[in-house]
Symmetry: C2
Subunit: 248 residues, 2 copies
Amino acid sequence: MAHHDLQAVSQQCGDCPIRHRAVCSRCEADELARLEQIKYYRSYEAGQTVIWSGDRMDFVASVVTGIATLTQTMEDGRRQMVGLLLPSDFVGRPGRATAAYDVTATTDLVMCCFRKKPFEEMMQTTPHVAQRLLEMTLDELDAAREWMLLLGRKTAREKIASLLAIIARRDAALKPKSAKGGIVFDLPLTREEMADYLGLTLETVSRQISALKRDGVITLEGKRHVIVPDFDRLMEQTGDDSDGGYLN
Amino acid sequence: MAHHDLQAVSQQCGDCPIRHRAVCSRCEADELARLEQIKYYRSYEAGQTVIWSGDRMDFVASVVTGIATLTQTMEDGRRQMVGLLLPSDFVGRPGRATAAYDVTATTDLVMCCFRKKPFEEMMQTTPHVAQRLLEMTLDELDAAREWMLLLGRKTAREKIASLLAIIARRDAALKPKSAKGGIVFDLPLTREEMADYLGLTLETVSRQISALKRDGVITLEGKRHVIVPDFDRLMEQTGDDSDGGYLN
DNA sequence: TGCAGGGTTTGATCTGCATCAAGGCTCTTG
DNA sequence: CAAGAGCCTTGATGCAGATCAAACCCTGCA
């Protein structure tokens, strides 16, 4: 429905590794040219910090490849992940000068950045961009609220199952078509990062994964490679309504 | 900075009880006329449900007076509040046909509603509205992420103190000027609603409030009327950075 | 005046997860 | 090949907050 979105825009150029070039028929040539001018790419390697909370941030960006996290840290070191950024997700806030969260690359990461000032100007003149950004932000807000239910009310086992289901679903959406014999994916997070995501300790994460393994809900090959023989079986462990997602 | 925002628009009419009429100099007369045509008011009394999760929802709205909550419920009855709507807050999602959460009036409530279809059309033609909505949604997302830190990592005492601080701050912002002798406000939520907000049980909420009272951090008159003699003292209990809020 | 019901407090006990601690696996580096 | 560093697992123990239960307070109403 959005005929000119940020991903499409950030993918106009030939060096962008994901998806096809998507030129929208209704986009004005000079809009694109303007975007091209304020756009640049940055790469980070796994573990590197993109920006620290409180730092000056004069760009907004969208993830091209890799995975990044947003985390908040309390003075005494307690950490909570508050965002998981996958390819096409947006970082940064027009109208704010400093970063509100630590942004970290958990895998090798490429981001497509736009300098903030010109980007904001473009938002004024190009309503599609603001509309698309609104849509993405509303999606993120929904995800955050789902996450709040998880943090506030789910048990450790339900939390782990939910996280696995989220990753499995996303992975299934990307891949052409998983084998019929079950869903297979690699965990993009360490046990500690999972713990920060779920509001648990890494020991509890480890124990609950072992428990799911013991109960035959999942199988592990190595520490990271997960096989889910029966996705419905996994979903039963999440505590969520079975009736899947609301379709818009 | 937004010269034409949703509240301003919803307050053009004389029957709107909050704030002054705010006519934006840059707003086109016919924009306003269009908004007037698709606008209507609805009232609910305390405790009433505005809409159930999954129900058809053919309007978007903003709170005029009173307080509403968004909650999610699991099949077995566990509940988590995921949004607290104060005057001027926005409900509903353009581009979604059904409600994703239960919306409940916790006090008597007046909402200014816009039928969804024409509202969406107006978003297309009036960029200011989409931009303002984006701003509001980003604010909500920030609040949700703060809330996630609370749910995932704070102790019961810190949760209670944080909630009191949030309410106190909001209240202070509304009132002309609190007395110098400390901040005073009424809790707009029952113990159970606070528990749903904080991911606790109502017993724990009650106990922690008693503890804060015992320690002299707060004083209670009746069950709902709170006196905070020293706001900094309360803030110390929240676990948050002392350096207050980032100013844009 | 009594009593019924919703909201709240407080006590006793239980339990899920945190904490503390040790050891295993795998990869890197000298 | 040894030594070290990350990351992960597993065990033992402790405690914050859940659960179960009882009683209190206030308001409305018969």
